[in-house]
Subunit: 365 residues, 2 copies
């Protein structure tokens, strides 16, 4: 099967290279803006790909939601399978693209959009067909986990940890989507869409690590606790959906506490399968490209969509999940009674509007 | 697609039950010995299934290598897809059954044969198509891991830990395949066959936990070490294959040390994907049945074999892997220089022939 790659950046280049060594797939066409690369396989016009009927599949590695969305619509409409690592694209336009793929009888796969090399979405898509999944989440952002590990294990400041993450290429020039938890939230949206047939909408609560400083880490450490940024989604007892991102304090023997540096960890729970956990490198050229390739190698033998025909948008109810929280307000530490996630987020918002320094982390159950 | 189940024991009953709730598969036929069950869906003659052309796939849940092998040959020869959780069957007859499946144009899948609910073989089969895998293994036996956890964390004796495992249904009436490491070794054979296209043969080294007593655990604990039974396979630098099972002593912060009770953990490493780790319940009716169901749900849309056409038998070279070992000989503890696995096993054999109490565990790298 002949594949075209959109974008020749970190992931796109990895995908192109890996395709050169693949027995069942070939690639001699990569789309990039004019004037950047001169390689003979580079094309600058999406129509070259759309009009080439020998190209059956497209691997999108551009990122973002503007050009990538335009190209996704065009490729699917032209009857080409669409494989992507773009979490922003799928979390925003997943249902539209699923419908287009179904209408044109082609596949829409995005294994690499959550967890880099970890085959979490692929396995949840398979598992949900013969099992009822009800919970998922994990450590889904390598930049934040790297910084938290540096702060916890080496006593780094937030700024030094961020600088080190930048130096090693883990953090982007603008790291705000990582630090704010938005990147984790987008992955949570994908876990929910694939695992529970529900794109969470409404009041998705998202607290990142911007309010975590060395002093907070030090207070947690003194209590034997290790901080991780956790994305969570699942079904409440009443069947309603929850989806949120928040820092969680774990005991040092918890599995999450031992996921260090830029490693990611994701889990899902189902009625029959129990709890299954996967960990691996959450980002990077070859780990991410390997997951794109895996999707591509499935295309010649299977026609499938990671999003089922039942998948719908669904309002979240984040009042049904309760945690005890450790709170640090202007330097003073307290631990709350069990309270709804939504109530903690509301309290934090009020306190911060009043100008208070306010850190919170859920206590591991 | 219509499926027949062979065997109505722990796993077979779970598979039958789950098939009743599956939208794409149906089952109204389970094979069992005469006189045990009277349910209307029970049949006693394999020919009933072989001759029913509406049955396209068979899920074998009998176990063992005699009847199960006979039925596997008959079902594949009759052009029926064959899905099994039987590690003894595939580790002994995998190549023969792969050839039969290929000849008859049907699938041979055995996800549930390694790691219960963990989709490790399935993912390695997918990953190897676009990546070069070179290492795999893990904690693959829940009975041993349960016993080691009890001994380590609660100070149980070997006998009490075994009795408790029996009471909870983790250990079989005859636990020798678990304790000797043979069960783990069979899973290692499957990891190697799927991941590296090589059924290991020759001098497969296998040390279980029969020589591990409370005194040994206590010596390790005093050094901050946690014992786990680890199956290992991979490629040496010179490309030769290794495959062995041995106890390994980990630092308490290692991921393996935090895999407790009857949880399993498996990993694979590839050039592009890096290290990917999966953990979950390694056994039990529904976790195992869930993995059988996952294989079954793939059949209507894909035709595949977990064993590639390139998979061959290959002699192992266990002299290429070196570890430092902690050795307890008649109560006295020592730590060796780095030495080949094969040399340590040879030494243990000699010492035990001389009548010495001899415990050894590799030190985590």
């Amino acid at each position: 099967m002949k594949v075209a790659v959109l974008g020749f950046g970190t992931v796109g280049r990895g995908v192109y290279e890996m395709l050169q060594n693949c027995s069942t797939l070939s690639c001699d066409c990569v789309l990039e803006r004019p004037g950047v690369f001169n390689e003979p396989f580079i094309v600058n016009d999406i129509n070259t790909i759309l009009e080439d009927r020998s190209i059956e599949a497209v691997a999108e590695c551009i990122g973002g939601t503007t050009i990538a969305h335009d190209f996704a619509v065009k490729c699917l409409s032209a009857g080409k399978h669409f494989v992507t690592s773009n979490k922003a694209l799928i979390s925003a336009y997943g249902l539209e693209l699923r419908n287009l793929a179904a209408k044109n009888g082609v596949s829409l796969l995005f294994s690499a959009a959550c967890g880099g090399t970890m085959p979490v979405l692929h396995n949840m898509a398979l598992a949900r067909r013969s099992d009822t999944l009800f919970k998922s989440g994990g450590i889904l952002n390598g930049t934040c986990n790297f910084m938290l590990t540096k702060m916890q294990d080496e006593g780094s400041s937030f700024e030094d940890a961020l600088a080190e993450a930048r130096r090693l290429g883990y953090a982007e020039a603008d790291p705000s989507a990582d630090l704010s938890g938005l990147d984790t939230l987008r992955k949570v949206i994908l876990l929910s869409a694939v695992g529970f047939d529900a794109f969470p909408s409404g009041d998705l609560l998202c607290e990142g690590i911007q309010n975590t400083d060395a002093a907070a880490i030090s207070e947690l450490k003194a209590r034997g606790l290790v901080l991780r940024l956790i994305g969570s989604c699942g079904r409440n007892q009443d069947g309603s959906l929850y989806a949120f991102v928040q820092p969680v304090a774990f005991s040092s023997s918890a599995a999450e506490a031992n996921v260090k540096m830029n490693t990611n960890m994701a889990f899902w729970e189902g009625e029959n399968c129990g709890r299954v956990t996967i960990s691996g490198q959450g980002a990077g050229r070859y780990p991410t490209a390997a997951n794109v390739l895996r999707d591509l190698t499935e295309l010649p033998e299977c026609r499938k969509s990671m999003l089922s025909s039942k998948c719908r948008e669904e309002k979240v109810n984040n009042g049904g999940c309760e945690f005890r929280y450790i709170v640090i307000e202007n330097g003073s530490v307290s631990i709350t009674e069990k309270m709804p996630v939504s109530a903690m987020f509301a309290k934090a918002e009020i306190k911060r509007k009043e100008g208070a320094g306010f850190f919170f982390a859920a206590m591991e159950e």
